[in-house]
């Protein structure tokens, strides 16, 4: 039994990847099953202390028995978008979550992890905008404070600690489109005739002015209203071609992030169980 576990990260084309898997379901070989993300998410119950294996157990046992190779893609196993509001480091709680999830994966003879990473100049604004869609408004400065220089190395290290015997595949988001066929081949054995949904557009980031202007008192509105209003204002500005995609960093800062990201990937590549795409 083998498990391919795609853990995110958020805002690294995870939805696109899941859509591709879903759209090409008819091309799978026998003995391989992709568990639809929505279905998986709906059947997993969480408590304060982790996964509720009591109520999720029957479902997990059921999918385990589906075939020899199982593919699961669920970024919320690593953390949630709202974590960015309360955590100072990327995916701080990931290791605990994965250690919890290991109760499910221990029955598999082989577990292979897939994880995408992205330069912080793009990742931080994207995940911030995603958090704005669902949670009450907070300014970008408030969320990140003095902690901009985040890196992926510790995140990958924590995955490696949680799955010390597994191969960890790290995909650089910037190469996503070009390496996707190779990734599909690695997981499904072949990629002939696969439709990579090249025409599907990713969800756009919030409007820059919406993010900035919302600070004027919207934060005190009730959660649903506050997040909904941000989205509405952003859409309205976009429709009228006012402003641009949320971009909190200047060129110098972006260059700094890119330099760090380059080194970050090199450092990740040095970890024995990691392969970088």
């Amino acid at each position: 039994m083998k498990l391919h576990l795609h853990l995110g990260a958020h805002k690294t084309a995870t939805t696109h990847f899941q859509n591709v898997l879903e759209a090409n379901r008819h091309l799978y070989h026998d003995g391989i099953t992709y568990v639809a993300m929505e279905e998986f998410r709906n059947n997993m119950r969480r408590t304060k202390n982790g996964i509720d294996f009591g109520s999720s157990g029957p479902y997990l046992n059921k999918i385990k028995a589906l075939s020899q190779t199982l593919v699961i893609s669920e970024e919320n196993l690593s953390g949630e978008t709202k974590d960015i509001y309360k955590e100072l480091f990327l995916y701080s709680s990931m290791e605990d979550r994965l250690n919890d999830f290991k109760r499910f994966t221990q029955d598999f003879e082989k577990v292979e992890i897939w994880f995408s990473v992205r330069s912080m100049d793009g990742f931080l604004p994207s995940i911030y905008c995603e958090a704005l869609r669902h949670f009450p408004y907070k300014s970008f400065n408030e969320v990140y404070g003095m902690n901009y220089s985040q890196i992926w190395l510790p995140v990958i290290q924590s995955i490696c600690r949680a799955f010390p015997n597994s191969k960890v595949n790290v995909i650089s988001h910037e190469n996503y489109t070009s390496v996707l066929p190779e990734v599909i081949k690695q997981i499904f054995g072949e990629n002939e005739n696969w439709n990579y949904l090249d025409d599907v557009r990713p969800r756009a980031a919030m409007n820059h002015y919406a993010c900035k202007l919302m600070g004027l008192g919207v934060g005190c509105l009730p959660t649903k209203f506050s997040s909904g209003l941000t989205q509405v204002i952003s859409n309205m500005l976009d429709k009228n071609n006012i402003g641009y995609k949320f971009a909190p960093f200047n060129k110098k800062e972006v260059d700094g992030f890119l330099r760090i990201y380059e080194k970050d990937l090199k450092a990740i590549e040095l970890i024995e169980q990691v392969v970088v795409y």
């Binding site: 100072l88 605990d96 003095m146 600690r161 990201y261 080194k263 450092a267």
Partner: protein
């Protein structure tokens, strides 16, 4: 047969009433590998029956019978003579031990320290209660008699634990001819010869003060002369140890002999006997090192007067002076009203509810904080502080200044030959601090190369700055004491130089053997704590708990449960806050009141690897103070692989 770890020697004479309690306290010890040598000094009461009963019940009890009553010193010698244990301890048969784990602790500590003598504490026992500790609580590892005269404070042999081979090496026995002060003679001889003496603060011994021992019965003139002879032997034994010698004689002249013993003598002896005793004392007083005593300034008025009378051999004046002192002490309380009043007021003041004082202090602090004067005061006090070294090396003169500091935290990391730890340390903290200033102090291994490599290759490597301080720095302890504070070689100067290299508004003193926990929750907690300090408008120092973790010879990690140290490590980068020379090492001097923020959760680990010399920055083997002593003992515990048997204190962990 297993080696016997401890031999307990109990001389018995007329203590039938207390003997059972005494023997029970020994046989109930958790350390089972022991022998109990009970010496029956021809006791006329029913003690012999009790001894036989215990010997029949427990094989570890060995009975030695004297045909005639030989006295306490000879009884102790008889016991030690047949002792086979690695260590020897004496216990008086009317006293007992209060802790069943006592021998276990003493044995373990003595093994860890490798000391010849280990002293512990006891307490007076009266009316079924422990009343007051005999000694001040103290904790010393591997001290020597020279410079640690506190070992000499209470001269009773039952508070000492001896390595048997040490006693054999110097053939240390009790003087059988002298039954008064035999402890002091023995101890003066033992302490002056011991290479390593340690102490523990634990109260283990119950000293019964309400029975009729020889010390509490009336003495004959022979007893007084015998006591004086014992004092002379003690004096000869310790005369090369000036501090102990002076302390001993000052104590006798100021108090013990001149008031306490002579007070008794005027009650017990006839005038002729007193005169003969005083004649004897004045005859032998010329043996004293009078100059050393006078120079020491340790003599009080009584001691000084007595010494003059003795040297002048003016026995009649001495007698009348001592007689007056004895009478004064009888009438003292009613005669000296102002003194009584003074003590009464002092006592009352002590009894003021501490809670109220604390509350007052707390409220005062709150008010001061509200007014917010501290930062203004700091600014007013100092704009910049200039440091100039006594060696006149202008390149290493520097200035601590308030200007040009960005908001953030610099980790100040002083390193010397840390190739084993440095990379793990940097990796664990690089995300948390805005800058890591690594100051190398002449490493001869690959520490510097590793730091450079880290700086170039780690994604956040640009946060690391590397500096070199090329002067040898005094090690803690004696070296440090002998080095001037403004020398390039002084610890304080070195630390201040390191501070001058830090670019951010707050500094965290970090060590290369410290690791921040890798657990996400702990890292979050620590970062939040840092942000709390840095972002506040007020100035704070910050202290956090550091859990010591030992790596044993097999490379396994062990957490030492009793070793979590809370220490001030964060401080503002401000010229009014700098390091100064303290007694054993450097200390942080803050020129204005600053509140401290504390992080109680132990999220930082200090790694101690037994394969490395963790005490190389110390210039002596003697350690004083609770924390350092505990550190040393735990370290040696693991080094000698004794931690595997101590599951209570050392808990194995898989990762930090």
């Amino acid at each position: 047969m297993d080696t016997i770890k401890v031999s307990v020697v109990i001389p018995v004479y007329n203590t039938q009433e207390y003997l059972k309690q005494c023997l029970d306290s020994v046989l109930s010890q958790t350390l089972e590998s022991l022998e109990v040598i009970v010496v029956n000094d021809c006791t006329p009461d029913g003690s012999a029956v009790i001894i036989d009963e215990y010997a029949a019940k427990d094989k570890r009890v060995i009975c030695v019978n004297h045909d005639v009553n030989k006295g306490l010193p000879a009884s102790r010698n008889s016991g030690v003579l047949i002792a086979q244990g690695k260590y020897v301890i004496h216990l008086d048969s009317d006293d007992f031990w209060v802790d069943v784990g006592m021998l276990e602790i003493l044995y373990r500590t003595a093994e860890v320290d490798g000391c010849d003598i280990l002293r512990f504490n006891g307490s007076d026992y009266t009316n079924g209660k422990l009343t007051q500790p005999i000694l001040k609580a103290e904790n010393i590892v591997n001290g020597t008699f020279e410079g640690n005269e506190q070992f000499w404070e209470y001269r009773s042999v039952f508070l000492y634990f001896f390595r048997k081979c040490f006693l054999d090496e110097f053939a240390l026995t009790f003087f059988p001819e002298i039954s008064l002060g035999e402890d002091a003679i023995f101890l003066s001889s033992a302490l002056s010869r011991a290479k390593k003496i340690s102490s523990l603060p634990h109260v283990f011994y119950a000293y019964r003060v309400d029975n009729q021992s020889l010390m509490r019965k009336p003495w004959s003139v022979t007893n007084y002369i015998e006591e004086e002879k014992a004092a002379r032997i003690v004096s000869a034994n310790i005369q090369n140890f000036k501090a102990a010698y002076i302390k001993y004689w000052a104590f006798r002249l100021n108090h013990y002999w001149s008031t306490r013993l002579m007070h008794r003598a005027f009650r017990d002896l006839t005038p002729d006997e007193i005169r003969s005793h005083l004649n004897y004392v004045s005859e032998v007083s010329s043996e004293m090192d009078v100059k050393a005593l006078r120079d020491s300034q340790c003599l009080n008025e009584i001691g000084h007067n007595v010494l003059i009378f003795l040297l002048e051999k003016d026995v009649s004046s001495l007698e009348s002076y001592l007689n007056k002192l004895a009478n004064d002490s009888n009438n003292d309380i009613s005669a000296n009203f102002p003194r009584r009043l003074y003590y009464a007021i002092k006592w009352r003041a002590r009894c003021l509810p501490l809670l109220a004082l604390k509350k007052l202090k707390f409220v005062g602090g709150r008010i001061r904080k509200k007014i917010g004067l501290r930062r203004a005061l700091a600014g007013f006090l100092m704009e910049e502080k200039r440091f100039m070294n006594m060696e006149n090396n202008s390149e290493y003169n520097f200035t601590l200044s308030r200007e040009g500091k960005s908001q953030g935290v610099t980790a100040m990391l002083r390193v010397k030959n840390e190739e084993k730890n440095i990379v793990a340390c940097l990796e664990s903290i690089i995300e948390v601090f805005d800058e890591i200033a690594v100051i190398d102090n002449g490493s001869t291994d690959s520490t510097v190369e590793l730091v450079v490599d880290f700086k170039n290759n780690h994604p956040l490597g640009q946060r690391v700055s590397l500096y070199s301080y090329p002067f040898s720095v005094a090690r803690c302890g004696a070296d440090h004491q002998a080095t001037s504070a403004d020398s390039l070689h002084s610890l304080a100067y070195y630390y201040n130089w390191c501070v001058s290299k830090c670019r951010y508004s707050t500094i965290c003193k970090w060590d290369a053997d410290m690791l921040l926990s890798s657990k996400g929750k702990n890292r979050e907690r620590f970062k939040r704590y840092i942000l709390g300090i840095v972002r506040s408008r007020r100035m704070f120092t910050g202290s956090f708990s550091i859990q010591t973790v030992y790596i044993d010879k097999l490379g396994d990690f062990f957490v030492s449960q009793d070793e979590i140290n809370q220490e001030v490590r964060f401080f503002p980068n401000h010229p009014a806050i700098f390091f100064v020379k303290a007694e054993w090492w450097e200390k942080l001097q803050v020129m204005f009141p600053v509140s401290n923020r504390r992080l109680a959760a132990p999220v930082v680990y200090e790694i101690k690897d037994v394969e490395q010399d963790e005490f190389s920055h110390w210039s002596s083997d003697t350690f004083v103070g609770e924390r350092k002593v505990r550190e040393f003992r735990n370290y040696m515990h693991v080094k000698k692989s004794m931690h595997l048997k101590d599951a209570e204190n050392f808990v194995r962990i898989n990762r930090l």
